[in-house]
């Protein structure tokens, strides 16, 4: 069933000796907020991981396809074959006929988890081809400043013969890795029941899959660059109605992250340096649902 309630969520995750999100503008250094030296992870970075996780666990499940894939084999021949089956396409634009345009969007929402969740732009002219997804994420920011380190590494091999000759047989190359020794990041999310109801049909099942993705996605996103990333806490505020019962910023303020070791404003060493409290109470376990009435 399509979700009936508005939700907000606070998502806390951390990184140890890894680069959670490289900045293409800064030679792939971890993203930093220049104002405060706190680390940043963009919304699209988190969305990418959610997509990848759903693709992993719902492989071949009807209705859980992912439109924006990270990599895959494009069978272009196949594509051409069934394009030939199609009734003569009139133009490159969305069907002018609004009913038809709606059908196309509805079909996309039904079949693709990411279109249903985050929305998609499918057109140039007709408004109904643009889907605003119910799930909205913001940039994640670290609780305290992070200090990115540049770690130089060596490789005991070279790529080309020319390089080998130049080194007269030494065959070594050097590279660099950028890591954050430790950072606890906090992201905020919003889920609109109205957008789910009106257009995309984002359901309660989809919602539990989203929570699952947030809990487990880093477990399936291991790589040399990422280091150790862990989803730590997810606090879900469930409003009693679709419209909501409280301003989102007030709800977010109920989740307080304090330093128990070290000083606020200085980089932390481990998750144990923090205490996470909800309404003054320490929270344990990954997911906490708070009914907002």
């Amino acid at each position: 069933m399509t979700i009936q309630n508005r939700y907000e969520f606070v998502y806390l995750f951390d990184v140890t000796n890894g680069n959670p999100n490289g900045d293409p503008d800064a030679g792939n250094m971890p993203r930093l907020d220049p104002d405060s030296s706190r680390g940043l992870v963009t919304d699209v970075c988190l969305k990418r991981k959610i997509r990848n996780f759903i693709e992993l666990i719902e492989d071949q499940t009807q209705g859980y396809d992912i439109y924006v894939k990270e990599k895959s084999v494009l069978n272009l021949q196949n594509k051409k074959a069934y394009e030939a089956l199609c009734i003569t396409p009139e133009s490159k634009k969305m069907p002018k006929d609004e009913v038809k345009a709606r059908e196309v969007t509805a079909w996309m929402c039904k079949n693709f988890f990411d279109v249903r969740t985050f929305g998609a732009v499918m057109t140039t002219e007709v408004n109904s081809g643009q889907v605003k997804g119910p799930v909205q994420l913001t940039f994640a920011k670290s609780e305290d400043p992070v200090i990115p380190l540049e770690v130089s590494i060596t490789r005991m091999a070279v790529t080309t013969e020319k390089e080998a000759e130049a080194q007269s047989g030494d065959n070594r190359t050097m590279g660099r890795k950028h890591i954050v020794p430790y950072g606890l990041y906090r992201a905020h999310g919003f889920i609109s029941a109205h957008l789910a109801k009106k257009t995309t049909g984002f359901s309660d099942d989809d919602l539990s899959k989203l929570w699952q993705a947030l809990e487990q996605m880093f477990e399936h996103d291991r790589s040399a660059a990422r280091g150790e990333m862990v989803g730590r806490h997810l606090v879900v505020f469930k409003h009693a109605t679709a419209l909501g019962n409280a301003p989102s910023h007030e709800l977010f303020e109920r989740v307080v992250v304090d330093r128990v070791q070290g000083e606020k404003g200085l980089p932390a060493q481990a998750f144990s340096d923090y205490s996470v409290k909800l309404d003054g109470q320490a929270i344990k376990g990954f997911k906490h649902v708070v009914e907002v009435v």
Binding site: D25, V104, F190
Partner: protein
């Protein structure tokens, strides 16, 4: 305008993209009337009403920051979707982000806060049971409780906008602008897009006077591009 509303909005980031610099996005200095309207509509809107922005109070110093992200270059083509629908298979319908990658920088605003003064007018779609009071009440009720149709945003959805109603007797948020920052010419700025007339953008000459941008009525001094 006796039926006006005042809404305090704020956020950590904002991107009100200039139409002339939208590939590598560069934000306007302040929120556009069009984006402000979008925020109001996220809280309450019906086809029976049309929001008009009257005044924008700028509360914080205008600062920029650059963010570069990996983005995809293409939109979903309706034609491919139709073929997939006909073939009843989603197998080959997708976009490979690695192969369609564009790195784009965005010059966005940091730490913004505004007070939006606006009112609405009834449209021709208003029915017999639509009246000004009803919609005004509904908007005020929602905004006061923090209710919204969807979370409003500062230009783009990754930059959520927080909001609070400024009712009668509520204390106004303090402006952090110093005297020198309160007056400046913001140049030509997008007012809004005329959706009824085939997406024609209207521009106006925006000027920050004593911390306030006075927004002309949409049809009056709007210049077409």
């Amino acid at each position: 305008m006796s039926y006006g509303i005042k809404l305090h909005i704020w956020g950590e980031y904002a991107c009100f993209t200039r139409p002339e610099m939208k590939v590598e996005r560069v934000s306007y200095d302040v929120i556009t009337p069009s984006a402000a309207r979008g925020i109001l509509e996220a809280i309450h809107w019906k086809p029976a009403i049309r929001w008009q922005i009257d005044r924008i109070h700028v509360l914080k110093h205008i600062r920029f920051e650059s963010i570069r992200r990996n983005e995809v270059g293409s939109k979903i083509s309706a034609r491919n979707v139709t073929s997939a629908m006909n073939a009843k298979s989603t197998q080959d319908l997708h976009l490979v982000s690695d192969e369609d990658r564009q790195q784009r920088a965005a010059t966005v605003l940091r730490d913004v806060a505004y007070v939006i003064e606006a009112h609405f007018e009834m449209t021709s779609k208003a029915g017999s049971d639509d009246n000004v009071g009803k919609h005004l009440d509904q908007f005020n009720r929602r905004a006061r409780k923090g209710q919204c149709f969807h979370q409003p945003c500062m230009g783009t959805r990754e930059f959520a906008a927080h909001f609070a109603l400024l009712g009668e007797g509520d204390q106004w948020p303090q402006s952090e602008l110093n005297e020198a920052q309160k007056n400046r010419d913001l140049g030509w700025m997008l007012h809004d897009i005329d959706f009824a007339a085939g997406y024609v953008p209207h521009f106006f000459r925006a000027e920050l006077k004593d911390g306030v941008v006075e927004v002309p009525a949409f049809q009056s001094e709007g210049f077409k591009s």
